[in-house]
Amino acid sequence: MDAKNKWIKEVESSLDGIKPAEVNPYLYSKILNRLRSGKPEYASAKLVWTMCVSIALLIFLNLIVFKSYQSKAQNKNEEIQQLSEQFQLTNSNLINYN
Protein backbone atom coordinates (compact mmCIF):
# COMPACT_ATOMS: atom_id res chain seq x y z
CA MET A 1 0.00 0.00 0.00
CA ASP A 2 1.56 3.33 -0.97
CA ALA A 3 1.98 6.22 1.45
CA LYS A 4 -1.06 8.12 0.18
CA ASN A 5 -3.50 5.22 0.53
CA LYS A 6 -2.06 4.35 3.94
CA TRP A 7 -2.59 7.94 5.07
CA ILE A 8 -6.18 7.94 3.71
CA LYS A 9 -6.94 4.69 5.60
CA GLU A 10 -5.54 6.23 8.80
CA VAL A 11 -7.68 9.34 8.38
CA GLU A 12 -10.80 7.27 7.64
CA SER A 13 -10.27 5.26 10.84
CA SER A 14 -9.63 8.35 12.99
CA LEU A 15 -13.27 8.29 14.16
CA ASP A 16 -13.03 4.66 15.35
CA GLY A 17 -13.70 4.47 19.06
CA ILE A 18 -15.15 7.97 19.11
CA LYS A 19 -16.96 8.69 22.36
CA PRO A 20 -20.09 10.85 22.54
CA ALA A 21 -19.38 14.45 23.52
CA GLU A 22 -20.70 15.49 26.90
CA VAL A 23 -23.71 17.80 27.00
CA ASN A 24 -23.88 21.01 29.01
CA PRO A 25 -25.31 19.96 32.42
CA TYR A 26 -27.50 23.07 32.40
CA LEU A 27 -29.11 22.25 29.03
CA TYR A 28 -32.54 21.49 30.51
CA SER A 29 -32.57 24.80 32.47
CA LYS A 30 -31.62 26.66 29.29
CA ILE A 31 -34.46 24.97 27.40
CA LEU A 32 -36.94 25.91 30.13
CA ASN A 33 -35.71 29.52 30.08
CA ARG A 34 -36.20 29.73 26.35
CA LEU A 35 -39.67 28.21 26.57
CA ARG A 36 -40.66 30.69 29.29
CA SER A 37 -39.14 33.75 27.60
CA GLY A 38 -40.67 32.84 24.22
CA LYS A 39 -37.68 33.45 21.94
CA PRO A 40 -38.95 35.29 18.86
CA GLU A 41 -39.65 33.25 15.79
CA TYR A 42 -37.77 34.45 12.75
CA ALA A 43 -39.51 34.77 9.40
CA SER A 44 -38.59 32.04 6.97
CA ALA A 45 -36.25 32.88 4.10
CA LYS A 46 -39.06 32.10 1.63
CA LEU A 47 -41.32 34.73 3.20
CA VAL A 48 -38.58 37.35 3.25
CA TRP A 49 -37.71 36.68 -0.40
CA THR A 50 -41.37 36.81 -1.44
CA MET A 51 -41.74 40.18 0.25
CA CYS A 52 -38.55 41.56 -1.33
CA VAL A 53 -39.63 40.45 -4.80
CA SER A 54 -43.12 41.92 -4.27
CA ILE A 55 -41.71 45.28 -3.16
CA ALA A 56 -39.22 45.32 -6.06
CA LEU A 57 -42.07 44.54 -8.50
CA LEU A 58 -44.20 47.31 -6.99
CA ILE A 59 -41.38 49.85 -7.32
CA PHE A 60 -40.69 48.69 -10.89
CA LEU A 61 -44.37 49.01 -11.91
CA ASN A 62 -44.57 52.45 -10.32
CA LEU A 63 -41.48 53.53 -12.24
CA ILE A 64 -43.03 52.32 -15.52
CA VAL A 65 -46.26 54.22 -14.78
CA PHE A 66 -44.30 57.33 -13.77
CA LYS A 67 -42.15 57.22 -16.93
CA SER A 68 -45.22 56.66 -19.05
CA TYR A 69 -46.92 59.65 -17.37
CA GLN A 70 -43.80 61.77 -17.93
CA SER A 71 -43.59 60.92 -21.63
CA LYS A 72 -47.34 61.63 -22.02
CA ALA A 73 -46.88 65.01 -20.35
CA GLN A 74 -43.92 65.73 -22.61
CA ASN A 75 -45.95 64.76 -25.69
CA LYS A 76 -48.74 67.04 -24.56
CA ASN A 77 -46.30 69.93 -24.17
CA GLU A 78 -44.96 69.30 -27.66
CA GLU A 79 -48.51 69.31 -29.07
CA ILE A 80 -49.28 72.60 -27.38
CA GLN A 81 -46.04 74.02 -28.75
CA GLN A 82 -46.92 72.87 -32.27
CA LEU A 83 -50.44 74.34 -32.03
CA SER A 84 -49.19 77.66 -30.76
CA GLU A 85 -46.68 77.82 -33.64
CA GLN A 86 -49.38 76.84 -36.13
CA PHE A 87 -51.70 79.62 -34.99
CA GLN A 88 -48.78 81.95 -34.42
CA LEU A 89 -49.67 82.36 -30.82
CA THR A 90 -46.16 83.33 -29.80
CA ASN A 91 -45.61 86.24 -27.39
CA SER A 92 -44.58 88.68 -30.08
CA ASN A 93 -47.79 88.08 -32.10
CA LEU A 94 -50.17 88.64 -29.23
CA ILE A 95 -51.90 91.97 -29.18
CA ASN A 96 -50.73 93.99 -26.27
CA TYR A 97 -53.72 95.48 -24.56
CA ASN A 98 -51.66 97.51 -22.09
Binding site: I8, S14, L15, I18, E22, A45
Partner: protein, 192 residues
Protein backbone atom coordinates in the same frame (compact mmCIF):
# COMPACT_ATOMS: atom_id res chain seq x y z
CA UNK B 1 -42.46 4.54 31.88
CA UNK B 2 -43.11 3.06 28.43
CA UNK B 3 -42.78 5.17 25.31
CA UNK B 4 -46.57 5.26 24.82
CA UNK B 5 -47.10 6.51 28.37
CA UNK B 6 -44.34 9.06 27.91
CA UNK B 7 -45.93 10.37 24.70
CA UNK B 8 -49.35 10.65 26.38
CA UNK B 9 -47.85 12.60 29.28
CA UNK B 10 -45.89 14.85 26.91
CA UNK B 11 -49.11 15.65 25.05
CA UNK B 12 -50.64 16.89 28.30
CA UNK B 13 -47.61 19.15 28.85
CA UNK B 14 -46.31 17.11 31.79
CA UNK B 15 -43.04 18.77 32.78
CA UNK B 16 -41.60 15.70 34.48
CA UNK B 17 -42.14 13.67 31.31
CA UNK B 18 -40.46 16.42 29.26
CA UNK B 19 -37.50 16.51 31.65
CA UNK B 20 -37.16 12.74 31.35
CA UNK B 21 -37.29 13.03 27.54
CA UNK B 22 -34.50 15.62 27.58
CA UNK B 23 -32.42 13.48 29.96
CA UNK B 24 -32.92 10.38 27.79
CA UNK B 25 -32.09 11.96 24.45
CA UNK B 26 -30.00 15.11 25.01
CA UNK B 27 -26.68 13.38 24.42
CA UNK B 28 -27.74 11.69 21.18
CA UNK B 29 -29.41 14.82 19.80
CA UNK B 30 -26.41 16.98 20.74
CA UNK B 31 -23.92 14.60 19.15
CA UNK B 32 -25.97 14.36 15.95
CA UNK B 33 -26.07 18.15 15.72
CA UNK B 34 -22.37 18.36 16.60
CA UNK B 35 -21.42 15.96 13.81
CA UNK B 36 -23.39 17.96 11.24
CA UNK B 37 -22.61 21.49 12.46
CA UNK B 38 -19.00 20.90 13.65
CA UNK B 39 -19.33 23.64 16.26
CA UNK B 40 -20.18 23.04 19.93
CA UNK B 41 -21.97 26.36 20.53
CA UNK B 42 -24.13 25.96 17.43
CA UNK B 43 -24.85 22.33 18.29
CA UNK B 44 -26.00 23.29 21.78
CA UNK B 45 -28.22 26.05 20.40
CA UNK B 46 -29.84 23.74 17.85
CA UNK B 47 -30.24 20.99 20.47
CA UNK B 48 -32.26 23.41 22.58
CA UNK B 49 -34.36 24.28 19.53
CA UNK B 50 -35.00 20.58 18.86
CA UNK B 51 -36.43 20.00 22.33
CA UNK B 52 -38.42 23.23 22.23
CA UNK B 53 -39.86 22.13 18.90
CA UNK B 54 -40.73 18.72 20.37
CA UNK B 55 -42.44 20.34 23.37
CA UNK B 56 -44.48 22.63 21.12
CA UNK B 57 -45.46 20.08 18.50
CA UNK B 58 -45.77 16.79 20.41
CA UNK B 59 -49.57 17.21 20.34
CA UNK B 60 -49.40 16.57 16.58
CA UNK B 61 -47.13 13.51 16.92
CA UNK B 62 -49.09 10.59 15.52
CA UNK B 63 -46.78 7.87 16.83
CA UNK B 64 -46.17 6.43 13.34
CA UNK B 65 -42.46 6.25 14.15
CA UNK B 66 -40.48 5.82 17.35
CA UNK B 67 -39.87 8.88 19.51
CA UNK B 68 -36.11 8.57 18.92
CA UNK B 69 -36.61 8.49 15.13
CA UNK B 70 -38.75 11.64 15.34
CA UNK B 71 -36.15 13.39 17.50
CA UNK B 72 -33.31 12.47 15.14
CA UNK B 73 -35.37 13.69 12.19
CA UNK B 74 -35.98 17.09 13.83
CA UNK B 75 -32.29 17.34 14.82
CA UNK B 76 -31.15 16.62 11.25
CA UNK B 77 -33.70 19.03 9.71
CA UNK B 78 -32.85 21.88 12.07
CA UNK B 79 -29.10 21.33 11.67
CA UNK B 80 -29.30 21.33 7.87
CA UNK B 81 -31.57 24.42 7.94
CA UNK B 82 -28.99 26.18 10.10
CA UNK B 83 -26.16 25.25 7.69
CA UNK B 84 -28.20 26.55 4.73
CA UNK B 85 -28.90 29.79 6.60
CA UNK B 86 -25.17 30.25 7.32
CA UNK B 87 -24.30 29.59 3.66
CA UNK B 88 -26.90 32.15 2.54
CA UNK B 89 -25.32 34.73 4.84
CA UNK B 90 -21.89 33.97 3.35
CA UNK B 91 -23.23 34.47 -0.19
CA UNK B 92 -24.49 37.91 0.69
CA UNK B 93 -21.29 38.96 2.46
CA UNK B 94 -20.61 41.75 -0.06
CA UNK B 95 -18.23 43.37 2.30
CA UNK B 96 -16.16 40.25 2.81
CA UNK B 97 -13.54 41.72 0.47
CA UNK B 98 -12.75 44.24 3.22
CA UNK B 99 -11.39 41.40 5.31
CA UNK B 100 -9.32 39.72 2.60
CA UNK B 101 -5.52 39.80 2.65
CA UNK B 102 -3.24 40.83 -0.26
CA UNK B 103 -3.59 37.49 -2.02
CA UNK B 104 -7.37 37.90 -1.99
CA UNK B 105 -7.93 34.87 0.26
CA UNK B 106 -10.72 35.23 2.80
CA UNK B 107 -9.58 35.46 6.40
CA UNK B 108 -12.98 34.22 7.50
CA UNK B 109 -12.31 30.47 7.10
CA UNK B 110 -14.01 27.97 9.39
CA UNK B 111 -11.52 26.78 12.03
CA UNK B 112 -10.59 23.09 12.24
CA UNK B 113 -13.15 21.10 14.21
CA UNK B 114 -11.78 18.96 17.03
CA UNK B 115 -14.53 16.62 18.20
CA UNK B 116 -14.22 16.28 21.99
CA UNK B 117 -14.93 12.54 21.84
CA UNK B 118 -12.07 11.65 19.49
CA UNK B 119 -9.02 9.92 20.98
CA UNK B 120 -6.04 12.25 21.47
CA UNK B 121 -3.76 10.49 19.00
CA UNK B 122 -6.44 10.79 16.27
CA UNK B 123 -7.42 14.45 16.79
CA UNK B 124 -5.47 15.95 13.86
CA UNK B 125 -6.53 13.26 11.38
CA UNK B 126 -10.15 13.45 12.59
CA UNK B 127 -10.11 17.24 12.02
CA UNK B 128 -9.06 16.60 8.41
CA UNK B 129 -11.79 13.99 8.03
CA UNK B 130 -14.46 16.34 9.42
CA UNK B 131 -13.34 19.02 6.95
CA UNK B 132 -13.89 16.51 4.14
CA UNK B 133 -17.26 15.40 5.59
CA UNK B 134 -18.32 19.05 5.59
CA UNK B 135 -17.87 19.15 1.81
CA UNK B 136 -20.16 16.20 1.13
CA UNK B 137 -23.68 16.76 -0.28
CA UNK B 138 -26.30 17.06 2.48
CA UNK B 139 -27.79 13.58 2.15
CA UNK B 140 -24.44 11.84 2.06
CA UNK B 141 -23.18 13.89 5.03
CA UNK B 142 -26.30 13.07 7.05
CA UNK B 143 -26.17 9.36 6.32
CA UNK B 144 -22.44 9.22 7.10
CA UNK B 145 -22.79 11.09 10.42
CA UNK B 146 -25.77 8.99 11.54
CA UNK B 147 -23.86 5.84 10.65
CA UNK B 148 -20.35 6.70 11.89
CA UNK B 149 -21.06 8.98 14.88
CA UNK B 150 -24.48 7.77 16.06
CA UNK B 151 -23.86 4.18 15.03
CA UNK B 152 -27.40 3.81 13.67
CA UNK B 153 -28.24 0.79 11.55
CA UNK B 154 -29.14 1.20 7.87
CA UNK B 155 -32.83 0.65 8.63
CA UNK B 156 -32.77 3.22 11.45
CA UNK B 157 -31.07 5.76 9.17
CA UNK B 158 -33.64 4.97 6.47
CA UNK B 159 -36.46 5.74 8.94
CA UNK B 160 -34.87 9.02 10.02
CA UNK B 161 -34.21 10.17 6.46
CA UNK B 162 -37.47 8.72 5.07
CA UNK B 163 -35.58 6.79 2.41
CA UNK B 164 -35.29 3.13 1.53
CA UNK B 165 -32.49 0.98 2.96
CA UNK B 166 -31.02 0.56 -0.54
CA UNK B 167 -30.92 4.36 -0.91
CA UNK B 168 -29.01 4.60 2.35
CA UNK B 169 -26.54 1.93 1.19
CA UNK B 170 -26.03 3.89 -2.01
CA UNK B 171 -25.61 7.19 -0.13
CA UNK B 172 -23.00 5.71 2.20
CA UNK B 173 -21.12 4.10 -0.68
CA UNK B 174 -20.99 7.43 -2.54
CA UNK B 175 -20.05 9.27 0.65
CA UNK B 176 -17.06 6.98 1.18
CA UNK B 177 -16.01 7.34 -2.46
CA UNK B 178 -16.23 11.14 -2.28
CA UNK B 179 -14.35 11.22 1.01
CA UNK B 180 -11.54 9.21 -0.54
CA UNK B 181 -11.35 11.66 -3.45
CA UNK B 182 -11.34 14.67 -1.10
CA UNK B 183 -8.69 13.11 1.13
CA UNK B 184 -6.58 12.19 -1.87
CA UNK B 185 -6.65 15.80 -3.08
CA UNK B 186 -5.84 17.03 0.42
CA UNK B 187 -2.87 14.64 0.61
CA UNK B 188 -1.49 15.81 -2.74
CA UNK B 189 -1.81 19.48 -1.68
CA UNK B 190 -0.63 19.32 1.92
CA UNK B 191 0.97 16.08 3.00
CA UNK B 192 3.33 15.34 0.08
Amino acid sequence: MSETEQILKLKTGDQAAFQQLVKDFERRVFNTCLGLLQNEADAEDITQEVFISVFQSVKNFKGESKLSTWLFRIAVTKSLDYIRMKNRKKRFAFFQVIFTNEKGDSKIDAPDFYHPGVQLENKERAAILFKAIDKLPENQKTAFILSKIEDLSYSEIAEVMKLSVSSIESLLFRAKQNLQKLLSNYYLKNEK
